[in-house]
Symmetry: C2
Subunit: 231 residues, 2 copies
Amino acid sequence: MIFRQLFESETSTYTYLLGDEETREAVLIDPVAAMVDRDLEVLEEHGLTLKYVLETHVHADHVAGDNTLRERTGCRVGVPEQSGVDCSDFKVREGEPVEVGGIRIEPLYTPGHTDDSHCYVVGDRVLTGDTLLIDGCGRTDFQNGSAGDLFESVRNKLFTLPEQTLVYPGHDYNFRHVSTIGQEKERNPRLGLSNDRADFLEIMANLDLPYPKRIDEAVPANKQCGRGNAA
Amino acid sequence: MIFRQLFESETSTYTYLLGDEETREAVLIDPVAAMVDRDLEVLEEHGLTLKYVLETHVHADHVAGDNTLRERTGCRVGVPEQSGVDCSDFKVREGEPVEVGGIRIEPLYTPGHTDDSHCYVVGDRVLTGDTLLIDGCGRTDFQNGSAGDLFESVRNKLFTLPEQTLVYPGHDYNFRHVSTIGQEKERNPRLGLSNDRADFLEIMANLDLPYPKRIDEAVPANKQCGRGNAA
């Protein structure tokens, strides 16, 4: 499998490119509108054709590249069924793997950061979106987020994956690239096994975060698959 | 490939188990004498037969499990040719891959921490021993270590691997499990690209580290493949 972790520095967002070495088909997960040209260049560099774009959730911090990529490549866009968007070509649902050549992408429904959040398991890797970050997790104070749901999603779904599973987050604000399920169990200061549910709820209730800068622009645009907001 | 990162907590040492899913042959890299029973249990759990043990270098902080594993399993022990040991079954050399079923392990000669240090490239992973650690590197003040050599080994060999290559270190003292070549280029405070050779030499010359606790026991034992020091 061709695997590339691509970075957008304004919002510290990771976009993931997965490509099948035989069929040369590819999928982009969480592409950013402002980085579509870069993404297309990387696809070309590897001789890949974009088959799908997948979203982990409706993002509040950046506008998605989905619609622009669809217009420019003819790819199909998959968005979680809970996202409430009409613009996708298909719905992402747990239990319905997405296949790209020989690559099998298994969606896990992991609400908490938002009520539509999914993670994607690909072999010994899991792309965790904003559900589980390295030493952290996404905030839970908008878009029907729920700290209780996030705790259950991480503990009952992500933490049941093998410990050596590689964790590729949707963001990192400190230039870290990758972790493992075992590492997050051991040292995630919010969700590590030394904390219980009450500890986690207290941490999340006291984060005192500012109102998200781009949410009023990004969420409506992303409900339209990023339409009208390409770079 | 079956891949397990195993931890020994007294010296924060990672031992790596790689197993071929077809042939059920396995290799252990940098096993610790005190953890041989654990290692044999993990092999059994996965239904694997130990074919080889490989060392990244002659360790100064722990006694190797090589000889005990050889006595208990009949595996063959490979040690870098520069290590000056007579007890190995074969010498590890850059340019001479070690094959375990369909797994191809490519040694890279990366002197610096010690004059026999090697890293092992396995597909999209590199096991870096004490040459490159997450946000750090091994010390260079004993066993013919050389900060200049370490700088060249990291910059001219490890940093030429693809950025998404997973870095699995020989130790981590903060419970981190994995990094990438890209991450180390970006944020390793010693060897990251924002430092030049002179910066690195200055950092290494001023570490002011204590004399290694177990070096007087470990190095002579490891020159005998850990003989006489099993747990």
